[in-house]
Symmetry: C2
Subunit: 325 residues, 2 copies
């Protein structure tokens, strides 16, 4: 059994917990939190909730610690810190800062003889793996990434911060005509606006100026100004009834050409009912891989690019070759 | 530069050659054939065509030998034989015999300190990798594989062997309703007939009994009897004009559930204008990986399951993390 600790029990932590439940070779040995442990009720019976401070000094009931924190401030500090004690997996997703994060984790992990797998999930993660396979096979080509239809937490939060907004949910939606042109091998050059639209569902305070709220959303720099955005005002009841899930997904489409002049389209598409449950399942599978690699004496920072697919599976090489090759 | 030899110059060998042309770090140093070398005219200028016998004793101008032979009789003999001299890559695709082939190649490669990567291409190959990723992430799920629309060489050959047939091309076509049900997460149980249809284009000899030919095709055991098959008789000119390409592709669709009761659909889809050029490009990328792994001292038989994605790329880890993660 591979002993897993989860640090952080938000949506993602609960997703990892759900994935461990489906994996007969993984065992959850503790959930660690920076909140007061007695305020947390977790889904797995008989598993302790402990303060994050109990992760130091090093415990012997954790083979891999899965760190479920935010990329803005949590992970840049936590992943290197805990990599100096444990094999760790995180889902760091601030693309521009990945090289810096990798270096910090690599230094800590190499010094401690542990593995720190960073930026795991589906983007970065499975989408990255598919981009890499495609461009390695077909060097003359163009990668396209479309997100959605799905809930963007960051954009939902941005709308919630507007004065007069009680609750909000933002869906990112790929533009069908853009998807079709890419799938047809037309290699279009697409602006931000041509690739995705944004749809917001907003619960406003009673008496709030809805026209102002809508305008503030649509003109918000970075988040909405470069997109065609639709805003719907709904009631709190409608929000709860129709928008309580966290679906997401998207497509990585690669349009490549071989020297004979032929075009090849490779598409990897995810349609996820629950973004955190799928992401948690990816993290759990890579935690298995990290444990196996660590047993082979490997150390340092790693990404999904560095892990052979067989390491993700509990099955032996013989089983995999006989049934899945 | 990684020095590549190609053994066998049919459609696949030419596909590998075209891929090498697009890869600045790969160099074709020779094409080897069991035919008389002077009967072969290859597409790359300045590269020698040599008899297969010149592969023995071991040459020093080959880092990886890509063996482009048939799975029925060529590869079971050739891959172990040449793995005792060179790092080799093959596209062995008789699924039921993969374990036996793996063992034979493993024995030869381990004794020689070489790597023998078997069963590379897209199925087995990229489809296998995607099946493995999906089932490792979502252990509670069902994998579906659809092939086509594309030309099946084996089925085309089977039709050509019928008396009175001058030429034939067989297309395998997934049934749209089956694809849709799987993509919708309905987890249908599908018979062979419900998954694919077969469409044949046949050039018959003058005066041949077309009704008999059509009946022989539709009732042919293993190849056609279990499918709904359509047969069209066309002229040799129409065959040349409309059916000279070798397009193929298909989808691996995985429908999985997480413990929270949510459904997730993962689809990997290929739409290939040229089956041999894409397959050749996959083999060339894995030849690069084999060369890198060999330089690290790895030996033995390997499959696509055992190769981390980063090994397929000529780019450094830094470049990949900065731009493609």
């Amino acid at each position: 059994m591979i002993k897993i600790g989860i640090l952080g029990y938000g949506n993602l932590g609960r997703g990892v917990e759900a994935a461990i439940k489906q994996s007969p070779d993984l065992e959850l040995t503790g959930v660690y939190t920076r909140r007061s442990p007695d305020t947390l009720k977790i889904a797995t019976e008989g598993v302790a909730v402990r303060s994050a401070s109990e992760l130091e000094p090093k415990r012997d009931d954790i083979d891999v610690l899965i760190i479920c924190g935010g990329s803005a401030t949590d992970l840049p500090a936590m992943t290197p810190k805990y990599a100096s004690l444990y094999n760790v997996v995180d889902s760091f997703d601030t693309h521009a800062n990945i090289p810096k994060h990798f270096d910090a984790v690599d230094k800590a992990a190499k010094a401690a003889g542990t593995i720190g797998l960073i930026s795991c999930g589906w983007d970065p993660g499975m989408f990255s793996v598919n981009r890499l396979y495609s461009l390695s096979i077909l060097p003359d080509g163009t990668p396209y990434t479309f997100w959605g239809k799905g809930v963007s937490q960051g954009h939902s939060d941005a709308v919630r911060r507007i004065e007069g907004v009680l609750d909000a949910r933002q869906y990112t939606i790929p533009v069908p005509a853009a998807l079709e042109a890419v799938r047809n091998g037309e290699n279009p050059e697409l602006t931000t606006r041509e690739k995705h639209t944004r749809e917001c569902f907003v619960v406003a305070e009673e008496g709030a100026d809805k026209a102002r709220i809508e305008n503030e959303i649509k003109t918000m720099p970075n988040y909405f100004a470069d997109y065609d955005t639709t805003v719907h005002f709904i009631t709190a009841e409608e929000m709860k009834r129709d928008h309580s899930g966290l679906p997401h997904g998207g497509s990585v489409i690669y349009s490549g050409r071989t020297a004979g002049g032929n075009t090849h389209i490779i598409e990897y598409r995810l349609t996820l009912d629950s973004n955190p449950e799928f992401t948690g399942a990816v993290l759990a599978a890579y935690a298995r891989a990290v444990c196996k690699l660590s047993a082979e004496g490997v150390s340092g920072a790693k990404t999904v690019f560095d892990i052979a697919p067989a390491y993700l599976s509990p099955m032996s090489g013989e089983e995999l070759r006989a049934h899945y090759l």
